[in-house]
Symmetry: C2
């Protein structure tokens, strides 16, 4: 079994599953509601499997109501993933970008030199 963060990203790496999450962002829905937009393209058991992936990733919570299985979005796992990405924000925000990248490079070079390791990079 993989670590939770890997499972979360893996769950998000499928357009069907992201569409299911989008649907759930409109509110609770049961399995056949969620399946309906996809039944032209795939079977109901396929959706059951997608939901299982989303559940294991912690992105969706499934409860019981008679023969229905109401599903709802679970924000926590998304937050974990978002927090992980947050540490890279500086790398996509302009202006800072080049300066920071430069500073990081300098630091890296200093470290390499201090350790007495040649680092094979020129310029």
């Amino acid at each position: 079994m993989q670590d939770q963060l890997s499972q979360t990203f893996a769950a998000l790496a499928d357009p069907t599953r992201r569409a299911i999450l989008a649907h759930l962002s409109q509110g609770e829905a049961n399995v056949s509601d969620l399946a309906k937009p996809f039944l032209k393209d795939m079977s109901l058991p396929a959706i059951t499997k997608h939901l299982k992936v989303l559940e294991k990733a912690g992105l969706v919570t499934k409860t019981r109501d008679a023969q229905w299985r109401p599903c709802k979005l679970n924000g926590e796992a998304l937050k974990t993933a978002s927090d992980w990405m947050e540490q890279y924000r500086q790398y996509w925000e302009e202006s800072f970008d080049r300066l920071d990248a430069y500073l990081k490079t300098v630091t890296a070079k200093k470290k390499a030199t201090a350790k007495g390791k040649k680092n094979g990079r020129k310029k």
Copy 2:
């Protein structure tokens, strides 16, 4: 070939690749630099493959310098993924959470009853 966002999330769904990104956040590095921490666990060609996944996902850019291949982090793909997640922020930020979920449910019900219109929501 998959859509870009799926490829990005798939690339992030592996701890080795996330560690490579973390390394690159400290500055440029070539393939063997990046491989070093993993050579106890896997071969160099394995790292080559991981880098290829990261490149295709747009997360890493590889250039040439003699026989070396300096790699650097590319923030844009991360931003795309982060932007996608952003739309769910409300689902992991407390206080809003329950109220908003409730409102969404009400809206969904009304839609079902009124057989109404499309909703294209944003923000």
